[in-house]
Amino acid sequence: MRHVVIVGASAAGVSCAEELRRGGFSERITIIGDEGHPPYDRPPLSKQFAAGAWDAGRCALRQESQLEKLGLEWHPGVAATALDRQGKTLVLADGREIGYDGLVIATGVSARRLSGYEPSDRIHYLRRLEDAARLRDAMSSAATVAVVGAGVLGSEIAATARGLGLQVTLIDPMPVPMLRQVGPALGAKLAELHAAKGVEVRTGNGVTRMEENGACLLTLSNGSAVKADVVLIAVGSVPNTGWLASSGLDLSDGVSCDEYLRAGPDGIVAAGDVASWQHLGLGRRVRVEHRTNASEQGQAAARTLLGERSPFCPIPFFWTDQYDVRIQVLGLPTATAELDVVSGSLGDDRFAGLYYDADVPVAAVTWNMPRETRRLRLALCGQ
């Protein structure tokens, strides 16, 4: 292998490059990213950056000197548009062609768009630094914000906007915020938290219509109306696989990989939000859009390219900070899992619990008890 090309210059792509170098790969590494900035980190975008507390420099993924040491050939600000697997060649948006021996697909996801609602001065989506800067600027001169979608991102933005003193309405067709990530009991606790902080929580309601006329006027499925200066739509994401459409790769859930993160037999691996893989520990195919997974999976993909054969089976982990509450989740709570609080109680402002599915612990959560997360990891590893 003389030349590895990494498509995607965010957490997964950068960690893959670092691991290739750590593993002794001294040949060419080219990294291609469609964003023009140096690599940056996304978790602060919905929190410190959107609040105006941190600037873009503070969100940098690595210091310039750290990146320089890796000896990479950078192609920022240009997207890959096609992959020719027979010719082992990538086509870039500016017409250039780049050959590879090993290919890493780490192109991430995009914010899912609601059809008919393009981004505007009032309507926002959040994925990239530019999105966050636009949202930050819009919120700085707004009085009211409607957040459509109460997943992790929407819930964080609701908390950030509330922290800026805005009037906030949080809307989702599900009965409680973050239902899919934390289940009904914790979701209800989150709804209480947001309400206690002054957010108008309208979960259990979809948006049936949205009109832009001076302000945004949203009509909800229960017939009620919400008026907002700014609307953030956070309704999930879509894997960035359009450029691979003619590649012959399995794109049924992002880029489908085997347990070693191989997308095909021909030196192609994938990592990060875009990659689904066969998780031998969970016994099923998963695609995980968590920040820590991007780093770990980037590393694992590098090791596979270097010839190691070790299946990638991490315990998924994410955290979310909302107001003064730090929530951490290990594992993937299933829809039928029941939460058993093992430390404190659900009514406290600090507690920890395990999710059981058919008497088997499948996930753990801590609420303002981050140190406890590590201890609960052992309970999950015992499986």
Binding site: T292, R374, R377
Partner: protein
Amino acid sequence: MKVEIDRAKCVASGQCVLAAPAVFDQDEEDGIVTLLTDEPSPADADGTHEAAFLCPAQAILVTG
């Protein structure tokens, strides 16, 4: 080898303690990283680098 931490950036994920338990710990209350030593021994070098690579908040800087 020297290691520095930025507690303002730390998100209390605990990844560093998993990677290098002799070097990093977490505050009992808020889970924010604390250093057990700022000059890890050679035996902890790999784990310390791993912690810096895996930190999801870029709160660890390893030099030397």
